[in-house]
């Protein structure tokens, strides 16, 4: 219902922003949205949220664990030895 109303050019900013999560979720094309044509604040909000989501998708794994992590894993595996990996368990 809210989404249907979202195409109504008489909707307020509050109504538009209430509908926004669902509009994003259904990947609605907001480029020609009546409310955004007349409301620079909401247009900026939409641009920013789209920008944040797009930048998040570009984040790469850049952090390496310290060498101590592998040392601890090896140590724990040695203590685990009586229980070999499941593939070779009888």
């Amino acid at each position: 219902m809210i989404v249907m109303r979202a195409m109504d050019k008489t909707m307020t900013c509050a109504e538009f922003q209430d509908a926004l999560p669902e509009l994003f979720e259904i990947q609605a094309d907001l480029s020609g949205h009546e409310h955004l044509k007349n409301c620079e604040n909401c247009a900026a909000l939409v641009r920013d949220l789209q920008y944040i989501a797009s930048q998040a998708r570009l984040l790469l794994p850049i952090h390496d664990p310290s060498p101590a992590v592998w040392d601890h894993i090896q140590q724990a595996i040695r203590q685990d030895k009586p229980e070999p990996p499941a593939a070779v368990r009888k």
């Binding site: 900013c13 509050a14 922003q17 209430d18 926004l20 999560p21 669902e22 509009l23 994003f24 979720e25 259904i26 990947q27 609605a28 094309d29 907001l30 480029s31 620079e40 604040n41 909401c42 900026a44 909000l45 939409v46 641009r47 920013d48 949220l49 789209q50 920008y51 944040i52 989501a53 797009s54 930048q55 998040a56 998708r57 570009l58 984040l59 790469l60 794994p61 850049i62 952090h63 390496d64 664990p65 310290s66 101590a68 992590v69 592998w70 601890h72 894993i73 724990a76 595996i77 685990d80 229980e83 070999p84 990996p85 499941a86 593939a87 070779v88 368990r89």
Partner: protein
């Protein structure tokens, strides 16, 4: 104008988890208990698993502990990997579960998720109404965004990292976090709104400085 929630085709995880040369051989040998092969798998995936833990937790010591726990679980469970999904997808899901188990023991995510269901006035979407200000587009570098994500409340951060960074779908997140799909969608939107606030505040401070 496409929405920020782009379609997540089946290739989404493949894009994030492309096949790695030598991985299958290492998996096969590690399943037979080959320690060198397991070390190879660790070298291939440590950065991705650790980065995931760090982004979800925002704490280096905890992220290292849980990276260790994730790989120990991998060692114990690698024999159960059947190849239905990419190995890296399977491993990252295992790591997510390790982090969530840890957070549940601490009691953080449930509390945060519920708390953030009723956003404070600071987090509410209508804060922007009437506030003409900067737009972010094109102005945020990776380090700034990473720092802002670190500063998200834990409940917001979990959903944002899982959906927008790691590419999980709302139904998967709802299952992982034991919440409704609607809750996951709502948290994601609030997380993006909160990030916008954090990023804009940072920009204003930079301008003043």
């Amino acid at each position: 104008m496409a929405g920020p929630t782009q379609p997540r085709p089946a290739t989404q995880h493949l894009r994030r988890n492309p096949p790695i040369a030598g991985e299958q051989e290492a998996i096969d040998k590690a399943r037979e208990g080959d320690a060198r092969a397991f070390e190879t798998l660790y070298a291939m995936h440590k950065r991705r698993v650790y980065s995931l833990c760090l982004r979800m937790l925002g704490n280096v010591a905890e992220a290292e502990d849980l990276t260790q726990e994730a790989f120990l679980q991998l060692y114990r469970k690698i024999g159960t990997f059947r190849g239905d999904s990419a190995f890296s997808t399977w491993l990252h899901r295992l790591a997510v579960n390790v982090v969530l188990m840890h957070l549940r023991r601490k009691g953080l995510p449930q509390v945060s998720l519920e708390e953030t269901l009723e956003p404070s006035q600071d987090d509410g979407p209508r804060k922007d109404i009437g506030a003409r200000d900067l737009t972010l587009s094109g102005s945020i570098d990776r380090v700034t965004l990473e720092r802002a994500i670190e500063n998200l409340p834990p409940g917001y951060r979990l959903v944002f990292v899982l959906h927008d960074v790691e590419g999980y779908e709302h139904n998967e997140i709802a299952e992982m976090l034991d919440c409704s799909i609607g809750n996951s969608k709502s948290q994601l939107h609030k997380a993006r709104m909160k990030l916008r606030d954090l990023l804009r505040t940072g920009q204003r401070k930079e301008q003043i400085a």
